[in-house]
Each structure stands twice: as C-alpha cells, then as structure tokens.
C-alpha cells in the first residue's frame, strides 16, 4: 500500500471577534467609529488582514493533527460540532492554509464540501453540469463523456434545458449530487453531502458512495451519521476540540465518539462552548419533567413528559427545535415549535422559556440524548448537541405493558389495539 495522505502536526488558528465594545455615552461611540478607519488602515499597511477587521480573540480549531492514509482506505472523520472536522477538510482541500504543520497528498484530489458549488440559477441544467463539473476539476472532455450518465442519475431528462431556478429543491439537489458523484479523482474528500434529496435518492447516493469506496479509491468522509460511517468506512478518526483522540477501526471510533457525547449530557449548559449559531440568545437550561412534575433524567414509556428550555434572552420570531437521538446516534423524533398546532398555547408569563408537553411518551426503553436548536431574528441563534441525556424505562402504554425484546429492538411505540378471534 502506498501513502495517499500524510499529515504532520497540522494546526489552524482562527481569530474570532472579541467581546462587543460597550459605550457609556454616544460621544464615545462616535469617536470610536470615526477613528476606526485609521486604526484599520494602519493594520492593512502592516499587511495584517484579520487585525484590520479587528478580530482579536484567537483559538485553535485544529492542533497537532498527524495521520497517514493509504491508497484505497475509506476513512470517516467524526466528532462533535466545532471539533475541527470541517477545518481539517478545508485544509486538505487547500481552501484555507494551515497555521502550522504540513500535509502531502499523492494523487488527484476531488473535494466535495457541498453539492452544487457554483450552480447559477439563471443557467440551464445542461450549462450548470459543465460549469459545476469544471469547478470540481473535471475536464471538458470528461464531462461530455459522462454527461448522459449524469443526467440519467439525476432523473431530470425533461428539464435539462430549463434554468435551474425553475427546478424544485429536490431536482436541484439531485442534479448537483449527480455531477459530484461522477467525479473520479484518486482521492475524494467528502463533507456530509449525502444527506440530500428524498429518501429514495439518498439510498441511490449511498449506493454510489459504496461503489466508490469499493472501487479502491481513497475517501475521507466527514459525517454525523454514525450508521453511515460504520457501513462505508473501515477506519475512523475521532476529533475532539481540534485534536485526534482516536484513530482506529470504524466501529471502535463510533463507540469512542458516542462516549464523548455521553460525558457531555451531564455538563452545565451555560459552560458548554461547543455550540454553533449567532449566540445573541442562547439556551441556558434544559430540564425534563415526568408525569409527577418532578425534574428527572428518567422517563417512563406511555407516561407524560415535559421538556423546558430556558433561554438567556428573547428576540423576534424565536423558535425551538428539540431532536431526540438514540444511543447509536440515530435521530428518533423531533419537536418543533415553529410548526403550530391547535393545542399550542401562547403565554407571556413563561418569560424566556419554551415548554414542550408530551401526553404519552412513546419511546422504548434505552438511553437517548436531546439536541437543542434555536432560531430567532432569521438566523440560527444556538445549536447544542446532546444538551441533556435521559433514560427511558418500560411502563404501560394505555394499560398495555411494554416489553423490550432483544430480537429486532425498536425505539418507537404506537398506541394500538388488536382484534383477535380468540
């Protein structure tokens, strides 16, 4: 086996905005605003771009990352939000420079950080295939050779000469993925682009990915989907806070990753830094209550439950989404406040709090985690993975005992009734 990618002590330092300045008087603010251009001009002359944008705080998104990947290996990169997965992929794709260290890549590289990069809405499907193909690094002759295959894969034959702005989002994504799927470099860097399209198309895309993996090409694959990592990859690299904490078999790395999530659920939400979003409003607490109105980390199948999310502020158009994942990291169900039903209640007395009430909790016994996703002022304000963890114990579902079975374990129940002759 020969080396495909060799990374040595890669590190990337970012400078992020420092705390917002506060002004006591309007006068101060005006003076500051007036003098800002001169301060910035001074920074530019020094050739200090980030300093010019007054970015002060520094942090290392990636540190001491070394690994070797051989030709033909399919490797999954997993880790929590902000663990440095995307940064690593950006460095290997040459989109951004590392701050320290170096990497060598032997072979033609194709990188797919998103599908449909450079798609232009005014251009037709045909034109976009050529443009996007060229952007992904395909030669014109190569695109012409694969053109029919791409169109067939995308299932858009009739619309190939229609501007893509008239496409449905499904068609758009299918076309975008189809172009990407026909890229044939020796080394492929992929960032979760498989989670596109409807279920049928996702299955097809997955098939294509497994094909690629089986062809003996080198694939580096960033994903949150643990099932996918386990099926597609032989090897997994787990990143945590910018460092490699595990490098080994795919299944072991998934276990390792899930353990890092487990330790998280117990942390105080206010101290969590591995979160995304604008952060003008953040979740500071998520408490689960059982049917007896007691705060708990244990719920009972078939009994009521209540999730209360407390925020540190409020803004216009605030919405909350809670997603529950099982112990394998698979999403099981979600509660969305932005989609309203007739039973929803608006109560200003709640203050900065979202309350989600569930009459019958329908998950089977097991342990689960909850991700919080907050949106407000037309942007994502806060996204925390594994904000809280809880267990579910079997109980009664409308008087029927719930029995967990080792064969075909399920995570979901439905109230039901049987009719039998005897």
């Amino acid at each position: 086996m020969s080396i495909a990618i060799l990374a040595k002590d890669l590190g990337k330092e970012y400078r992020i905005g420092g705390p917002q300045k506060t002004y006591d008087r309007l006068g101060e603010q005006v003076v500051d605003m007036m003098s800002a251009p001169f301060r910035r001009a001074a920074s530019i002359l020094r050739g200090d771009a980030a300093g010019a944008a007054e970015l002060k705080k520094r942090f290392w998104a990636l540190q001491d990352v070394s690994f070797q990947i051989d030709h033909g290996e399919v490797v999954g990169i997993i880790g929590r939000n902000g663990a440095g997965k995307s940064t690593l992929l950006k460095i290997l794709s040459r989109i951004t420079d590392p701050t320290v260290g170096e990497a060598r890549i032997y072979g033609r590289v194709g990188s797919l950080l998103e599908v449909g990069t450079g798609f232009h809405p005014e251009l037709t499907g045909r034109e976009n295939i050529f443009l996007n193909g060229a952007i992904l690094g395909m030669r014109k002759t190569e695109i012409i050779r694969k053109f029919d295959e791409i169109v067939a894969f995308a299932e858009i034959d009739d619309f190939i000469d229609t501007p893509v702005k008239h496409y449905s989002s499904g068609m758009y994504v299918r076309l975008a993925f189809a172009v990407a799927a026909h890229l044939e470099p020796e080394i492929l860097l992929v960032d979760e682009v498989l989670a596109v399209g409807d279920v049928a198309f996702q299955r097809k895309s997955l098939g294509k990915m497994s094909e690629v993996a089986a062809e003996g090409r080198t694939v580096l694959f960033v994903s949150h989907n643990m099932g996918l990592v386990q099926t597609l990859c032989q090897r997994g690299i787990v990143l945590q806070e910018g460092r490699i904490v595990f490098d080994g078999g795919a299944s072991e790395s998934v276990e390792c990753y899930l353990r890092t999530l487990e330790t998280m659920g117990q942390e105080d939400l206010t101290t969590r830094t591995d979160r995304q979003g604008a952060g003008e409003v953040r979740a500071i607490d998520l408490t689960i209550f059982n049917g007896e109105n007691q705060a708990t980390s244990m719920l009972i199948t078939g009994s009521p439950a209540r999730f209360e999310v407390t925020l540190d502020g409020w803004m216009y158009g605030m919405t909350c989404v809670l997603t529950i994942f099982d112990h394998l990291g698979r999403p099981v169900t979600k509660f969305q406040s932005d989609v309203q039903g007739p039973d929803d209640e608006i109560n200003p007395e709640l203050g900065h709090k979202f309350v989600c009430e569930i009459d019958e909790f329908l998950l089977m016994s097991g342990n689960y985690r909850v991700d919080i996703w907050l949106r407000g002022g037309d942007e994502v304000q806060d996204y925390v993975q594994a904000a809280v963890k809880f267990d579910v114990e079997t109980g009664l579902l409308r008087g029927r005992p719930v029995r967990a079975t080792p064969v075909n374990p399920v995570s979901m129940l439905m109230p039901h009734r049987w009719r039998t002759p005897e």
Binding site: A52, I91, I95, G137, D247
Partner: protein, 289 residues
C-alpha cells in the same frame, strides 16, 4: 475516557508518477503560480462563459446595454461639452471624438467595478472549493471584452458615417486594447482584494470610477495641456489608452508619444503589484469572506 492513537506514521514510498500536493502555511510574498492558472484554463473559460451568459439575463434590452451605455454618454457629452461648452476635439467631429474614448473607457469602468466585486460575489464558491483565485477577477475582466467588441462595432459604423478612414497607426490598436485590459485587471485585482476585507470598497468604487472618468481625457483632448504636464498626465493609465485609441483610429494629429510610455509603465506596475498583492492575501479569502 480511554483513547488510543496510532503509532506515528512510518513514511513509505509514495507511488512515483502521482501528482503531489504539498500543503503548508504560506508566509509573505508568494509566487504567482501562473502554471497552475494555465492548468485551470478550462475553468477560466467556463467562468468567462458564465459571466457573458448571465450578464444580461432578465433584462429587457439584453446585450444592447453594451452599446447603449457608451452611446448615450456620447450623446450627452456632445450636447453639453461639444455644443454648449465648445470644447475642442482635435479636429475630428466631437461625437466620434468622445465615443472613440468612451468605448475603451466603458470597458475599463465596467471591468473595474465588476472585478472589484468579483471575489465577494463568488465568496460561496471560494469557501467551498479550491481553484486558483486569480481566475475569478481575470474571468470577470475578460468577459467584459464581449461588450467591448459590440461597442467597437458601433464605433466602426460611426467612422463610416463620418467618413473617417483609419491611418496606418491602426496597427497599434491591439496594443492599446491590451493596455486597457492590463489596466482594468491591475486596478480590479487591487480593489477586489480590498473589498474582501472592507465592504466600504463597494461604495467607493462607483464613485471613484466617476471621478476617474473626468480625470481622463474623454470629454476633452489632452492636447489642452502643455508639456511636460501632458506627459505626466500618463500617470493616469487610462489617459494613455484613450489618447492611443484616438490616434490609432482617427489619426488625431498629436501623436501621443511619451504619454503612452508613462501609461504603459504605470499600467504594468499596477498589474504586477496587484497580482502579487492578490496572491499574498489570497489565503485569507476563505476565512474572511
């Protein structure tokens, strides 16, 4: 938590004939990597093709905008500067005197404005995929030559109408076209990079372009200036381009001479410095845009 890390990689011999990419921090001034830009020439071609194709999409007038812009400016100039103010026009009819300058000027002005915004407009792509970044402003400027050709055809029509036959000087025309291209690209490179850092540039550029137009001998001849000021006028590279255009096409009596040399030097200096400045700042684009 138990963790394990693979033993330090044992260097193995890579396959000999595979292309090798070395990724490491770049510091200070770096080479232009024109060979790489050449390797990506197909992408450059597709960028130009895209820019030409979408430029006039969803407009009623379509490509005729390429002609309307300089033509209407010419009409206004002829009325106000030619008729009312009676500005001299080097012994050629004022309309063709100003239009022959407006053709390269409109090319420059559009290329400059669009190149300045090109990186910001393509930020989505720059953050998601690697390609030589120089291709973006370069394609924008080259796409503008399509408009230039259209406006130039009208110029030929006007020469026919005014009965002006080009002199032998016309063999110099390609040189002046190239000079306009170099100037646009040089200025465009500088401003596109600054625009990434400071969106103020977006507001400064249209204003600057307007001021620059009046600082260029479009509505008036540079022959109004005595030497040595006329030669110094060449520090504005567009002055050289515009006077060169007139001399090559209309055979205006005052051969531009030294003004062209000064303009060419400034223009090349702008391009070379712009390209190196661009390459130096390039690594920050994906992090800042």
């Amino acid at each position: 938590m138990t963790t394990k890390t693979k033993a330090a990689p044992v260097p193995q011999k890579p396959v000999g004939d595979l292309p090798t990419i070395l990724i490491k921090p770049s510091k200070g001034w770096v080479s232009l990597r024109l060979d790489e830009l050449w390797a990506y020439r197909e992408l450059l071609y597709f960028f130009i093709w895209r820019d030409v194709k979408i430029r006039y999409k969803q407009t009623i007038m379509g490509v005729s905008w390429a002609i309307i812009q300089p033509l209407f400016t010419m009409v206004i100039f002829s009325l106000f500067f030619g008729r009312l103010a009676g500005i001299p026009s080097d012994d050629v009819p004022y309309p063709i005197f100003s239009y022959s300058a407006l053709v390269p000027w409109t090319f420059f002005s559009n290329a400059f404005i669009q190149a300045s915004n090109s990186l910001v407009n393509n930020a989505g792509m720059i953050k998601k995929i690697y390609f030589p970044r120089l291709a973006v402003p370069l394609a924008t400027v080259l796409a503008g030559s399509f408009d230039f050709v259209l406006a130039f055809i009208v110029l030929l029509g006007m020469m026919l109408y005014f009965g002006i036959t080009p002199t032998i000087n016309v063999i110099w025309l390609p040189f002046f076209v190239l000079l306009a291209l170099i100037t646009s690209l040089g200025v465009g490179l500088w401003f596109s990079v600054m625009n990434v850092q400071f969106r103020d540039v977006r507001y400064i550029v249209p204003f600057l372009s307007q001021a620059w137009m009046f600082a260029t001998p479009i509505a008036y001849p540079s022959s109004l200036l005595p030497e040595p000021w006329r030669t110094l006028y060449g520090l504005n590279p567009m002055a050289g381009v515009v006077e060169g255009f007139r001399w090559a096409l209309l055979g205006t009596k005052t051969a531009p001479g030294p003004i062209i040399i000064v303009s060419t030097l400034v223009s090349v200096a702008l391009l070379v410095s712009g390209a190196f400045y661009f390459r130096r700042m390039e690594k920050t684009f994906a992090d800042v845009t």
